[in-house]
């Protein structure tokens, strides 16, 4: 076959591929119940999608006063990727972050993949098919303290409390899984959406931002009994019960969004504490149920505070000053004593479970990708963590990585990008 023939063949294929792509778009846009690809026959009455097509089409806004993926209800799947900057100067870093936001905006919106020259690598890896369904995708971009070192002249604009995450007494931090210049938090309902998004974003920043650490997470499924019931972590206890309500904007202003005392560009951003907490699950599973419940302070099955019957019940520590019901060193009691003095210490947790193989002793490497958004890590996260230093649960967990990051305010539409305020202020 001559080169010319080969090119002609490929072009013809491209037309066919394009046609298939258009068909896919039609199916999506019209909410057709028709399976794409092999058969155009209408499905039988009993045939149904395995995956909710409405959920695949669900779209979050990338742009906004605040970034998405903070107050957004937790999706089923996530990946957390810390990157280090290799950019040689501030202009290169700025161009990279601009491109990162642009691509993140495209992926969050979804849509058909453009077809370019058939002999060029495709502009999109295409693993979701010819149309990228949004699937509830959120991409949250945050900066680590190291981005504000001497390299890019950003130091004067560093958020006031953004430091390298300290090593708490329970920690055994592995530098290879800790810190980083930029953190990407990618969440969606389906695993393939998350995998695709990470690949596409890395293509955008290759050469300037390089992988430092990465971990995949998932949420426990909504198994009830009510739609509001919190999902379980890998210790089998419900996690997130006492989260402050994200619908309360005034409360979010008090607990989540940075502002007072911060550089002007940081207003509307938030500190993101991300911690990879290994849970020694075999050990945990070999502990008596009553001891487990006393360590947490809740009943395992229902999630009710000890002595209660319902997950969201107030534990009423005021009526249990000696810890006869909920031990004084129970996790929920130390984490959130529910007093007037500790009310402004509350954090917004948005963690994910993780599983990733096993260690050299043949024990599973499972745990919690702990994520907390808060206005002041000093006043909030670190204060809580310090109270938890002596909790009995520490024998069963080892925080091994993560870091402190700052998620800037959201981008304000096409052309704007996450971090633009910082770079404008620093120039």
């Amino acid at each position: 076959m001559s080169p010319l023939d080969r090119r002609a063949f490929l072009t013809r294929s491209a037309v066919l591929l394009g046609a298939g792509g258009v068909g896919g778009v039609g199916a999506l846009i019209h909410g057709s119940d028709q399976a794409s690809g092999a058969s155009t026959a209408a499905p039988s009455a009993r045939e149904e999608w395995d995956v909710s097509q409405a959920q695949l089409a669900a779209r979050n806004q990338f742009d906004g006063i605040h970034q998405a993926g903070i107050l957004t209800p937790t999706q089923a799947q996530a990946t957390f990727t810390a990157l280090d900057s290799l950019a040689g100067d501030r202009g290169t870093l700025e161009a990279t972050l601009r491109a990162l936001s642009r691509r993140a905006r495209e992926l969050t919106a979804g849509g058909p993949i453009p077809l370019l020259e058939i002999d060029d690598p495709p502009v999109d890896s295409g693993i979701l098919g010819p149309v990228n369904t949004p699937d509830g995708l959120t991409i949250t971009i945050a900066f680590g303290a190291s981005l504000f070192d001497g390299r890019y002249g950003l130091g004067a604009q560093r958020p006031r409390e953004l430091i390298e995450m300290p090593s708490f007494p329970v920690d055994d931090l592995d530098p290879a899984q800790s810190h980083g210049d930029v953190l990407l938090q990618i969440c969606a309902h389906q695993r393939d959406t998350v995998a695709h998004t990470l690949r596409e974003l890395l293509r955008t920043v290759h050469g300037s931002l390089q992988l430092r650490w990465n971990i995949d997470g998932f949420s426990g499924a909504a198994r009830g009994p009510s739609p509001h019931s919190s999902a379980r972590n890998l210790f089998a206890f419900r996690d997130g019960t006492a989260n402050p309500p994200t619908s309360d904007a005034a409360l979010m202003n008090e607990l989540v969004w940075a502002g007072r005392g911060e550089p002007a560009w940081a207003a509307g951003g938030t500190y993101q504490v991300a911690r990879i907490i290994r849970q020694h699950v075999e050990f945990w599973d070999r502990v008596g149920l009553s001891e487990q419940q006393n360590m947490i302070g809740r009943e395992r099955a229902s999630g009710a505070p000890l002595g209660g019957t319902e997950e969201f019940e107030d534990p009423r520590y005021d009526l249990d000053p000696d810890g006869k019901r909920v031990p004084l060193d129970a996790h929920i009691r130390l984490a959130n004593p529910r007093t007037a003095a500790t009310a402004n210490q509350r954090i917004l947790r948005r963690g994910f479970n993780y599983t990733r193989g096993f260690d050299a002793a043949g024990e599973l490497d499972q745990g919690l990708m702990f994520v907390a958004f808060n206005q002041s890590p000093e006043r909030q996260f670190a204060t809580i963590q310090t109270r938890l230093n002596e909790e009995p649960m520490i024998d069963y967990i080892t925080p091994v990585g993560g870091g402190y990051f700052f998620a800037p305010p959201g981008a304000q539409g096409a052309g704007d990008w996450v971090g633009s305020g910082l770079f404008a202020a620093a120039s």
Binding site: S167, L173, P227, R286, L289, S302, A361, D395
Partner: protein, 376 residues
């Protein structure tokens, strides 16, 4: 949990599962009932973004429940799953323990025997520490590494040194243990922290190229701390609960910290450390044997599984010329045999504390009625 489920006598499953999923769900629910011992109900709520077919099915009854007989060899006890009919849910639904509580005084003889054992191990460790100091003074790295390994294993043969931190003496012992055996993980400046002392500080120096002689100060401080511990140990408090828990947890620590390599990243002496934990466990279990007699199923499983682990350890040593290899020297087959035997032993040992309780689990008081303030 849904109020409507209380005492209903059957379990409602999500009515959207195909038959295979339903079977699995039943299995999972049965297991959950065993573990919790309470009635468990699921409703069809809360699956707003269903990924399943929407066939309708009648709520599925799950009574009577069967006898649960675990297949795992180290869990010999038979648990009868009670019908959910009439079962009480909530934290107060504590099933009666199988065995009556033991008097605390029954532990006096075992704990006294353990103290004698622990002191003997400490004395042996002190001897090894003298050799370590001599080797460090001579700047002899190989001899110092050998002495370090022997002294470290000697110390670990005590078994975990955690005592009741609420008691002043217990807190002192805990602090000494931290100075002797602490790791740099939680320290503000890691390995550069002045609080990083003891065995792991010397390990760090000996295996990372520091001049052995520069470590003499750490070794003499370590020897002093071990001597202090030897003076305190005979008087340090040790409750029956702590002692019974120790039978289980010494080897949990070995799996988590040593066979994993986590706490011995440089020397790699995790197998040796696990062997020391096994020796301590064998001693603790031997002292508890008279008390464990009443729980024959537990005792049988513990003895069998500990013997299996001991045999696996001996096989590994034999394959390495009589000396226990480092973690990285283990072949995959050796690693799997040790890991598997250790996990088997831990499953059996986890039954020990429950078989040796000195008091019935207290009933959790209920939260007072809701007529008072309820926070949102």
């Amino acid at each position: 949990m849904a109020q409507g489920g209380r005492g209903a006598g059957r379990l409602f499953l999500v009515p959207m599962l195909d038959s295979t999923a339903r079977r699995w769900t039943l299995t999972a629910l049965a297991a959950a009932c065993v573990a919790v011992g309470v009635f468990l109900a699921l409703t069809a709520l809360g699956v707003g973004r269903s990924t399943h077919h929407t066939d309708t099915a009648a709520p599925y009854a799950l009574t009577p429940l069967a006898t649960y007989l675990p297949q795992a060899p180290h869990v010999r006890s038979k648990v009868v799953v009670e019908s959910s009919q009439g079962a009480v849910q909530g934290a107060s639904a504590t099933p009666a323990p199988e065995l009556p509580p033991l008097p605390a005084s029954a532990f006096a003889t075992p704990i006294a025997a353990y103290r004698r054992y622990a002191l003997a191990q400490l004395r042996a460790t002190q001897g090894q520490l003298v050799r370590l100091q001599v080797a460090l003074q001579a700047n002899d790295r190989a001899a110092a590494q050998t002495a370090w390994s022997n002294a470290f294993a000697g110390y670990l043969r005590l078994g975990a040194v955690y005592l009741d931190g609420q008691v002043a003496l217990g807190a002192k012992v805990t602090a000494l243990n931290k100075a002797i055996d602490g790791t740099p993980g939680g320290l503000a400046h890691g390995v550069a922290s002045p609080q990083f002392t003891g065995f792991h500080r010397i390990e760090y120096g000996l295996w990372s190229g520091a001049a052995p002689r520069a470590l003499v100060g750490y070794a003499s401080a370590l020897a002093g701390d071990v001597s202090s511990l030897a003076r305190l140990l005979p008087r340090a408090p040790l409750t029956p609960l702590e002692y019974a828990t120790r039978a289980h947890e010494i080897l949990e620590d070995a799996a988590r910290d040593f066979l994993s390599g986590a706490d011995v990243p440089l020397s790699g002496e995790g197998v040796l450390a696990t062997d020391a934990g096994l020796a301590a466990t064998e001693e603790v279990v031997a002292t508890l044997h008279p008390l464990l007699k009443r729980a024959t199923d537990v005792t049988g499983a513990v003895d069998t599984e500990l013997a299996t682990l001991r045999a696996a350890m001996s096989n590994v040593a034999a394959a390495h010329g009589g000396r226990l290899p480092t973690n990285t020297q283990l072949t995959q087959q050796q690693s799997e045999s040790l890991d598997g035997a250790l996990e088997g032993a831990l499953e059996a040992l986890s039954q020990v504390p429950g078989a040796l309780e000195t008091e019935a689990p207290p009933q959790t008081p209920q939260i007072p009625s809701r007529d008072v303030r309820i926070d949102p």
